[in-house]
């Protein structure tokens, strides 16, 4: 314990001596370092992609053609067309140029450009993940605040137990159970997809149809995501409970809920809010499995289908997009935290 405090004190001392003089330029430098490191991370993803799909397979041409029987002449032709005979640095350069032009190759399954497939699948995923992220944040943070503030209460105990079960639950399993229980026998919800096959009318009716299809996958993702948010919110609120400023607020005679709303929660909220940005990687795993279970025509299902086809260009394209999205979200979360919380600037 003493070591941790010592460590903290030392870091704080360094911060005072270093940061005080050049605060604004220090902030700009920290930010630019973060942007640079995100760019490097993305570059390494590109390199990894290149190696995994083009260099690691013993014969990329065979890989490219689904291992079908080809004559040596045909293989040579493919090698020429795709530039597979070129020296590696040259190949890598071509790959970079193509990727930055948005050319991700063509799907093995239906010969469509991967960028077009991704474009079609983008909106359903944004809709599903966006809705459930908003819902899970609001509900999760609310549960965390209520449980953390009245620690040990019945609400706290039941919600913690409930959240712990959710945390241990495979999301796709929850999806399948709900699907069989509510969509199968009871037929309360559709059993997958995004629109009814029979045509859903126009305007409001179509929107209603969409929401009806959205309900179950959205509930699953909300339940799975909210577990982590409420746990983090609860523990960061508990960390604030012993803070001196809360004692001051109480000594001023503020009502309990004012102390909570105006003093404790805003301070405890910071870790949770940044977690939401930092958590996109976790969110994406949920999207892959849940979209698969509910046949939701988004990026997650696209990557699942590509995985089992196997359709390498599509798998590669979705991986690149997922990684880029997570890296950018991480960067934004990190930048927001750096701007809003001076304490982490030196960390």
């Amino acid at each position: 314990m003493a070591d941790v405090m010592l460590e903290g004190a030392r870091a704080a001392a360094e911060e005072r001596s270093g940061a005080g003089a050049a605060r604004s330029s220090g902030l700009a430098r920290t930010l630019s370092v973060k942007v640079m490191s995100a760019a490097i991370t993305l570059f390494v993803v590109l390199v990894g992609n290149f190696f995994l799909f083009r260099v690691l397979p013993a014969d990329p041409a065979k890989n490219l053609t689904h291992n079908s029987a080809l004559s040596a002449k045909q293989l040579a032709a493919i090698n020429r067309t795709f530039g597979l005979g070129l020296p590696l640095p040259q190949q890598f350069w071509n790959y970079l140029v193509q990727t930055f032009h948005g050319n991700l190759g063509r799907s093995f399954v239906n010969q469509l450009p991967v960028s077009q497939l991704i474009g079609q699948a983008l909106w359903p995923t944004v809709l599903l993940v966006g809705t459930s992220t908003v819902l899970s944040t609001v509900i999760g943070v609310w549960i965390g605040i209520r449980g953390g503030w009245n620690r040990g209460s019945t609400f706290d105990k039941t919600s913690t137990a409930f959240v712990n079960v959710l945390y241990a639950m495979p999301d796709f399993w929850l999806g399948m159970v709900l699907l069989i229980a509510l969509a199968g026998k009871l037929a309360l919800f559709p059993d997958g997809g995004m629109h009814s096959f029979t045509g859903s009318g126009s305007g409001l009716a179509s929107l209603g149809d969409l929401l009806w299809h959205l309900a179950l996958p959205c509930i699953v993702l909300t339940l799975v995501y909210l577990a982590e948010y409420s746990l983090v919110m609860r523990s960061s609120l508990i960390d604030e409970l012993k803070a001196d400023y809360l004692l001051t607020a109480r000594a001023k005679g503020l009502r309990d809920d004012l102390v909570r709303r105006r003093h404790a929660v805003p301070n405890a909220l910071l870790p949770s809010v940044t977690l939401i940005m930092l958590n996109l990687g976790f969110v994406i795993s949920g999207a892959i499995t849940t979209e698969t279970v509910f046949s939701w025509p988004g990026l997650g299902r696209l990557s699942y289908v590509a995985l089992n086809a196997p359709d390498y260009p599509t798998l590669e394209g979705t991986f690149l997009l997922f990684s880029a999205a997570v890296i950018v979200a991480n960067l934004i979360g990190d930048l927001l935290l750096t701007v809003f919380d001076p304490r982490v600037r030196q960390a």
């Binding site: 314990m1 070591d3 941790v4 010592l6 460590e7 030392r10 490191s37 490097i40 991370t41 390494v44 993803v45 992609n49 995994l52 799909f53 690691l56 397979p57 620690r151 712990n164 079960v165 945390y167 241990a168 639950m169 495979p170 796709f172 399993w173 399948m176 159970v177 699907l179 069989i180 199968g184 523990s235 508990i238 996109l280 990687g281 976790f282 994406i284 795993s285 892959i288 499995t289 698969t292 279970v293 990557s303 699942y304 995985l307 089992n308 196997p310 390498y312 798998l315 590669e316 979705t318 991986f319 997922f322 990684s323 997570v326 890296i327 991480n330």
Partner: protein, 308 residues
């Protein structure tokens, strides 16, 4: 403790001290009701996994010998019903426990070894004043950050697909993609350990980097590493379930995730619902048990957390 042997070798003394520490640890742990619940669940699950050949004939895993009706509900002979090949779900569940736990524990071992190595080396050289030391620390942590940022599931999918799916590859992939968090935690603890006087003493006596890391830093990050290991197992078992569900497992060696994947692919909705429920509940129980034990361990090691 009162009846000490008359001749005390340093080794005997050390062991007495360790036994006492362990007893104290156990007394503290036993007070944690949730941790004990988790431990009991784990003991039962591990017993089932170890006794799998006794509890259920492994022939039941082979679809060739399955004569029962496919995807049928529970009967006296098949308490949990059958799957789409007519195999007993109970047999699959018992052998699934064995394979799921093997995958979870082995993947964790890989993850922990890489994480501890990166964490200790980075923490040790990070506290060295020399420029090369800082550079090592920075480089190692950049690598860890990369694995921390890049989304786990897509990366694991790509790796497992390009290397070729099997149980061994799943273990390797989970191990290789899940160590970064451990490395961060271990590094932070190692940095704290590095400031202690006994390391200064060791350095003054001429201890090399390896000796310092192996004899001083590593033993002191060990308790934290243990709690982290238990929590990592929960994560690796969930990861295995997801990857197997997505079709990256080995069909001949069933895991719980693979049962769920088969249930999804071969029409569980039209028949035996227990086929879906049983493996899911098993996963939840095991993951919760590991989480409870891990948090209880953390609380014993760090009394500050105990009031949560």
């Amino acid at each position: 403790m009162s009846a000490q042997p008359v001749t005390l070798t340093p080794r005997a003394l050390a062991w007495t001290r360790r036994r006492a520490a362990l007893a104290r640890f156990w007394r503290e742990f036993r007070k944690d009701r949730r941790g004990m619940t988790g431990l009991i669940i784990l003991a039962v699950m591990i017993a089932v996994a170890l006794l799998a050949p006794v509890l259920a004939n492994s022939r039941g895993l082979n679809p060739i010998y399955a004569t029962a009706p496919a995807n049928a509900g529970p009967t006296l002979r098949f308490p949990l019903g059958t799957d789409s090949d007519g195999r007993s779900v109970l047999t699959m569940l018992i052998w699934g426990a064995r394979n799921s736990l093997i995958v979870g524990l082995t993947a964790t071992l890989i993850s922990i070894i890489i994480g501890a190595l990166f964490g200790v080396v980075a923490g040790h050289f990070g506290s060295v004043r020399a420029r090369a030391g800082r550079l090592t620390d920075n480089l190692l942590m950049r690598v860890a950050d990369w694995f921390l940022v890049v989304p786990f599931l897509p990366l694991a999918m790509v790796l497992a697909r390009t290397i070729g799916p099997s149980l061994g590859v799943i273990i390797l992939v989970i191990g290789l993609t899940s160590w970064a968090g451990t490395a961060r935690i271990v590094r932070a603890q190692a940095l704290a350990v590095e400031t202690r006087p006994y390391l200064e003493r060791a350095k003054a006596l001429g201890a090399g980097h390896w000796h310092q890391m192996y004899r001083h830093v590593l033993p002191n990050v060990m308790p934290l590493l243990l709690a982290n290991t238990i929590l990592t197992v929960a994560g690796t078992i969930l990861a295995e379930t997801t990857l197997s569900f997505l079709g990256l497992g080995d069909p001949i060696r069933p895991t719980w995730g693979q049962m769920l994947g088969a249930a999804y692919n071969y029409g569980v909705g039209t028949g035996n619902v227990v086929w879906l429920l049983a493996p899911g509940i098993a996963v939840i129980l095991v993951v919760m048990a590991f989480t409870l034990v891990g948090h209880a361990l953390e609380a014993v090691l760090d009394p500050k957390l105990r009031e949560r």
